[in-house]
Amino acid sequence: MMVKVLYFGMIADALGKTEEEISFDNSSKEINLKSFFNSHHKELENLNYSVAVNQEFKEKVIIDDTIEEIAILPPFAGG
């Protein structure tokens, strides 16, 4: 299935895009999000980021149709 992935800040800069649709295997297997994204985009391997699924921080997730978006978030700088 296709999932909308959003990129922000220095990550968007490094990848040259702010969003894309990525195809995931529709299996009930839990995936490690960082391993997945590091191999999908080699540029991410050396960057510091966290992952939010449906706007909640997650390290692992089972991809299913409840997922509306995955966000790749570089270090925060608010305040």
Binding site: G9, D13, N48, A52, Q55, P74, F76, A77, G78, G79
Partner: protein, 142 residues
Amino acid sequence: MKNCFREGPIASSFIGDAIAKHQVKTNIGAHQIFLGQVRKDQIEEKFVAAIDYSAHEEMANKSFHDIREITFEKFDLTCMHIYHSKGLVKTGEICLFVFASSKHRKEAQKAIEFLVEEIKVKVPIFGKEILEDESFVWKENK
């Protein structure tokens, strides 16, 4: 969901008006305010001229909302307001305005300290430090 973002710097008149609006709330005895200001940091040979703030806005507003709820649970506050800039804020301008009010000073003081730390760590806001020669560096909270 309340939108906590303001385009560009937070004007001192906006802060003044926020204070004035609380004059009718006569059960308040103490206001505590924190203002974040863009600092002219030196990065190698260059100085910061501005920060261009971006965010996952929907997630950030949810996060501000959650932080508000937790702060209200932890401290005995009458009211609380959070405003953060998005877009370009020059050095010396205000990028964060948090405002907590309570009957007595201690609650508002403790609440603000807690709030600001939570915002720094939990809200997905990103800052591009624009240097004087228009090159840039991505900022990261310590």
